[in-house]
């Protein structure tokens, strides 16, 4: 089975037999992969009808809900990992969601497009317009991404909320990693992947 590299990286971080919650689980690819390879159990949360049908077809437990409405249906510390891939930038209340992740899960895993990538900086800095890149392909007026951030922004938000970052890695739009990117993640990383927990 081929899997996007960011999902591959996440699955390497996850201990076998864990209970996981995937916020904005899409068509269930990651959860399905984790179930097959790591014998995880748990749920995906998703809002889109088509994705719900895809998850059910893939035998994934999926709950149709709006993440912005909170995770009140889940008790504290219900999961080993609460994950959110490529969704942070699309929620209305990222800080609230982050804290909910830390309430319901022992560890959190988040991936998001790095707005501090050099191409974004160049387009905004020199071009004077909102960046349109491979990881952020929509125009400012029709994007669902309303809370874009850089690596530094995210790390500041974590520190403000007493969240300790355990692991960070960056990949490019094709979810590959190379040396330059590892040396200059803020500038060259297109997608950021974090694992974190409460301090």
């Amino acid at each position: 089975m081929s899997l996007r590299t960011d999902l591959q990286i996440i699955s390497e971080w996850i201990k076998p037999g864990s209970r996981v919650l995937d916020l904005g689980c899409g068509d269930g690819t990651l959860l399905h992969y984790l179930q097959e390879t790591k014998q995880t159990t748990g749920y995906g949360l998703e809002i889109d009808d088509e994705n719900i049908v895809a998850c059910i077809k893939a035998n994934i437990n999926v709950i149709q809900t709006d993440i912005d409405a909170g995770l009140s249906e889940f008790e504290a510390d219900s999961f080993d990992y609460v994950m959110m891939t490529q969704t942070l930038q699309a929620v209305h209340y990222p800080e609230k969601v982050l804290n909910e992740m830390m309430r319901t899960g022992h560890e959190g895993i988040i991936t998001f497009p790095n707005f501090g990538h050099w191409k974004s900086r160049a387009q905004l800095g020199f071009g004077g317009y909102m960046p349109v890149t491979r990881t952020l392909p929509d125009e400012w007026y029709n994007t669902r991404n309303i809370h874009l951030c850089t690596l530094r922004d995210f790390e500041r938000l974590c520190s403000k909320n007493n969240i300790k970052i355990l692991q960070r890695t960056v990949v490019d739009h094709a979810h590959r990693s190379y040396l330059g990117m590892r040396l200059f993640p803020h500038l060259l990383g297109e997608i950021a992947i974090y694992r974190f927990q409460r301090k």
């Binding site: 059910i56 709950i63 889940f74």
Partner: protein, 382 residues
């Protein structure tokens, strides 16, 4: 009447009756010494008996869930949208069983059947039956059919409540529980509507304290009012607006009290057509079963505790405009299942149709249902 039976229908079906001589102890403390259950089946039971699906029906429906009784039938069974070859409850793969509840009026032992002790209809002497009683009788019925474990138990509304009760009371005997447009117990508002319906029936002079059979009459006005009231709660405000608006039957106001608005005509038609089809005593019993339903009651009023030992996988579905059992009520069930870390999926279907939506062929609803049932199908051993 169908000119020809549609290819995706189970076609012509004939109800069967099973007699039970062994007494059934009811929750109210009384005992039914013997009873009959009327049921229909669609599809074939396979060699391992592992492909059986039990359908639980709602308040005013019955065992006739799909197909036609004769080519003269105006309409097919009540869940034709979901049961049939290639449909979510695929009769090419599943053996589907639907049984009329005890206390019903379509052939199972109920108020309108003869009490063997007296030789006259039970009428008001029929014991008050509960969802738990129904589930017990269905479990016994399943054993009689040779079914040790249902591949799935499925129901909407009051049917969904039976499914929930099944998952709690007989955890080993079902692999999947599909609960549609239901609630874990009625709200005060739900009970209030039921009480008005019961008052309409019992205050009808033709009700005769439930002994109307002896007088060869039917409490028509009461039954009709109960049904009209019910129908208001089955539809959403939006659905009524779309269906009828303020449309006038004769195109003008007549300044009188006859039927003028189309919605009045619709309600009266629904009420009148119910009179010949449904028994007033059964209506009282069914509404009571609804009011009393509260599986958490035996578990310190905690639904999560009630569901601790459930083993089934669950699919819960709600409909946006359903105000009888709103999506929030379904989520109470989901929450309890999440607390127990049980396998559950939940779909919130956008629909303008109100509570009745669960009977309608809404594309997303059918897609979710079909996807889930195809998983159920995959697990079946031949």
């Amino acid at each position: 009447m169908p000119d020809a039976i549609p290819a995706d229908s189970v076609g012509l079906v004939t109800p069967q009756t099973m007699h039970f001589g062994e007494p059934l102890l009811l929750e109210c403390g009384r005992t039914l010494k013997q009873y009959d259950l009327i049921y229909e089946t669609y599809g074939e039971l396979n060699a391992s008996h592992g492909n059986a699906i039990l359908i639980c029906h709602a308040l005013s429906s019955d065992h006739h869930a799909a197909g036609y009784h004769s080519m003269d039938d105006r309409k097919p069974g009540w869940w034709e949208a979901c049961i049939g070859p290639g449909k979510p409850i695929d009769t090419d793969h599943f053996f589907v069983v639907c049984v009329n509840t005890i206390g019903g009026c379509q052939g199972s032992t109920g108020p309108n059947t003869l009490n063997p002790d007296t030789g006259i209809p039970y009428g008001p002497d029929f014991p008050v039956v509960t969802v738990k009683d129904w589930v017990n009788s269905q479990a016994r019925f399943g054993s009689a059919l040779g079914i040790e474990q249902w591949a799935a138990v499925i129901g909407g509304s009051l049917g969904g409540m039976q499914v929930l009760q099944w998952s709690i009371d007989y955890p080993e005997q079902l692999r999947h529980a599909v609960i549609i447009a239901a609630a874990p117990k009625l709200s005060a508002q739900n009970i209030a509507f039921n009480e008005v319906a019961r008052q309409a029936i019992t205050s009808d002079p033709d009700f005769h304290q439930g002994r109307f059979y002896d007088y060869d009459v039917v409490p028509k006005r009461g039954l009709m009012l109960a049904r009209m009231l019910g129908h208001i709660t089955y539809l959403s405000d939006d659905a009524m607006r779309r269906k009828f608006g303020r449309e006038l039957r004769e195109g003008k106001i007549n300044y009188g009290f006859d039927v003028e608005f189309q919605v009045e005509s619709y309600l009266r038609h629904q009420g009148e057509s119910f009179i010949g089809k449904f028994d007033a005593n059964t209506y009282l019993l069914m509404t009571k079963a609804l009011d009393y339903f509260d599986p958490a009651r035996d578990y310190n009023d905690d639904l999560s505790t009630a569901l601790t030992h459930a083993k089934a996988r669950f699919l819960v579905i709600s409909f946006a405009s359903d105000w009888r059992f709103s999506p929030g009520r379904s989520r109470e069930i989901v929450k309890a299942l999440l607390d127990c870390a049980h396998d559950v999926s939940y779909a919130a279907v956008e629909s303008h149709e109100g509570h009745d939506a669960f009977l309608l062929p809404i594309p997303y609803y059918l897609d979710v249902f079909q996807a889930y049932m195809s998983d159920v199908k995959k697990e079946i051993s031949p």
